[in-house]
Symmetry: C2
């Protein structure tokens, strides 16, 4: 979609916030009716919580804001392929669409470790767009891990 790039840039801005906090740089925004209703970035170390991923924090914010747990009119833009936990949360929220950048080979839940959307028996189907600005995302990740190693 035409507006995908615009919203993806906002997810990248979130990812850079994580980078500046020395967190693995992943960011996301959730969009309903062409408006950003929630945004967040990875804060696992800052919050010292296994649930501190960008998508979980943004889904919590979106549910709070809308006062409902079904977000079937929402699109989530996230810089990195959601992990299995976050992909599971996206299914639990019955989201309409996921737009992500680079693949996450280790624990990615939408094509890498597994593709939940293709599982036989899954009771919800997501529209998925992948590879958006994948090079920018990969460069940001590489830069982060380089910085970490130099420490």
């Amino acid at each position: 979609m035409e507006s995908d790039l615009k919203f993806f840039e906002e997810a990248l801005i979130e990812a850079k916030k994580a980078y500046d906090k020395n967190e693995v740089p992943v960011g996301c925004v959730i969009v309903v009716d062409d408006k950003i209703i929630a945004r967040s970035h990875n804060q696992r170390e800052t919050k010292k919580s296994a649930l501190g991923h960008a998508e979980i924090l943004a889904i919590e914010e979106a549910c709070n804001k809308l006062g409902r747990w079904i977000l079937d009119d929402a699109t989530i833009y996230v810089t990195l392929e959601p992990c299995v936990m976050c992909a599971g949360a996206i299914f639990q929220a019955r989201m309409k669409r996921v737009v992500f950048g680079a693949y996450e080979p280790k624990f990615g839940g939408l094509g890498s470790l597994i593709n939940l959307n293709e599982l036989e028996g899954i009771n919800h189907k997501l529209e998925i767009t992948s590879g958006v600005k994948a090079e920018s995302v990969s460069n940001l990740m590489k830069e982060f891990f380089q910085k970490l190693r130099n420490k």
Copy 2:
């Protein structure tokens, strides 16, 4: 383990709290060093959040209490097989062990829809015990959905 039944009973007490709130009756406790450090029950409707599952709420509490996101000394006792989101969260927290009661055929992530623990490439392995008091759990679930239909 000998203490499994004792802790599982506590998870069942949590499930009954959900039942009394007209929530799908799922409960859990998290145990470290033979002590319950977090407990919760499903509150998806009450909290109007897709993240309102028992396990997510308890993992959040456990991380907050211990001030760390790695819970590799923890066992989670949960009445129903964790869904893919919750199983993913258990992996993200690197938990040591999962003890659950009945299987959850629709979205269960530890044997039903999929078994994340058996995925090729998964970078963490859980010890899993299933089937604990499965009949009590199934009866509670059946009773709940019967109550729902009668409304």
